[in-house]
Subunit: 247 residues, 2 copies
Amino acid sequence: MVYRYGATRTGRDRFRVDSAHRENGTSGASGQETQESARQRIICAAIDLYGEHGFDGVTVKTIAQRAGASAPLVIHHFGSKAGLRTACDRYVAEQFSRVKTESVRRGSMPRNVAHEAVMANRHLVKYLMRAFVAGGPEVDLLFDQLVEDSLVYTAEAEEIGLVYPSRNPRHRAVVLLLQSFGGLVLHRHMERHLGMSLVQEDPDPEGLDAYMATLMELYTRPLFNAEAYSELLGAEQAEQAPESSAL
Amino acid sequence: MVYRYGATRTGRDRFRVDSAHRENGTSGASGQETQESARQRIICAAIDLYGEHGFDGVTVKTIAQRAGASAPLVIHHFGSKAGLRTACDRYVAEQFSRVKTESVRRGSMPRNVAHEAVMANRHLVKYLMRAFVAGGPEVDLLFDQLVEDSLVYTAEAEEIGLVYPSRNPRHRAVVLLLQSFGGLVLHRHMERHLGMSLVQEDPDPEGLDAYMATLMELYTRPLFNAEAYSELLGAEQAEQAPESSAL
DNA sequence: TGAGGTGCTGAATATCCGTTCAGCCCCGAG
DNA sequence: CTCGGGGCTGAACGGATATTCAGCACCTCA
């Protein structure tokens, strides 16, 4: 009963990381990998269940069962439930960095990296969203790295003329990242309203196209009329209202 | 030891709702309100603590202590912890609708409503973000109402010429709402990177201005060069990549 | 063959937490 | 004054859960 991510490898799954790639816990781990090590199975099960039900919605026993192991074994390997949590954080961070390095080695266009990486590793992303709202040292670091990567990619895109420059590229990167993740964290409501979300099992193409079209509209055309806005702002007497219904 | 929201009423607090406004549980509740009822105190304490630590991070006992009551009293009033949760959901939804109706009665510009409402009711917003990611009937309904409201406001803004029309206003409203809430849900990282967040205690003005400037830049000027983008898209052979690093 | 070590488990433990119970205080009605 | 009831509490209960413990199976090396 070995648990395995996903089902079939479609064309879009180029970016999926191999879940069987073992992260060596102790340096001299005597290799015995006729099949996935229990430690690895536990981590994968935990990531899936945590991503689905949140950190507090899953018991150690449930994770162990899903991994085909016993609860004490989980403790044996990770010391405690918190230890498992940080192990998962580390594992996810490592996998994401692997995705990144592999995609640059493959010479992919940077503009595809993030999106395809998300699509191909839903479990990891779902976990990551939970982790981002919960916070934690490992995961904060990962977020920071995403900001840096985003800055690099955006700069490259600027040079091609694909992206317009910003007065404060770093701030723009952070805000864009936060906004993008917002749609993932609240995928529940995205599913309810748009009929799809990026992390659901089988996103139907038309819903995805609708979402992408909306994003493209938002990002290729202005939303506010800047002149009308500042005009209106000047017309109102003392109302200090720097922003609009966009929160 | 009566717990009370906030401290002093500044000019910006026009939109704050009166936390003492009692929601009548049983219809014929014999009124005895020399001070805030315990039921109300418990709800306020729960909203604060839930918003701060999440639904699973707080015990009934903690809530009771904060409200100056005992754990059994919480159960006595709400039946169970889940009952308290739905009572909080209902209360928050009611407060938000109150904010809305009061602001329209006051004749405020709709474009200010959302932003100022957020600023003035941080506890409610913090709770709401937790509730949005957790989901639930009451809270889903509230989200849907926010979408509808946003549609109305945006339509009005369109007529003034403040906002440009969209091919699919509803989709745009949903995506904008999700993106905006993303920044609130992940306020942790917004604080770490921008030095402020909309739900923190005392947002320093310069950080807020920086954030607003970033938002305005994003919403008044295009981010992508549409021509360059579609050109690039046509140039690439079979790469089906509908979107970019914006996730 | 035996010793030791590793991976793993079932049962037991300790703790926490939501909930129940029996009863107190206080106030208003008869 | 007495009765009754509502608001409220301390103590106890029961279930769930992370963690510990003692030991089993198996494998390796002497």
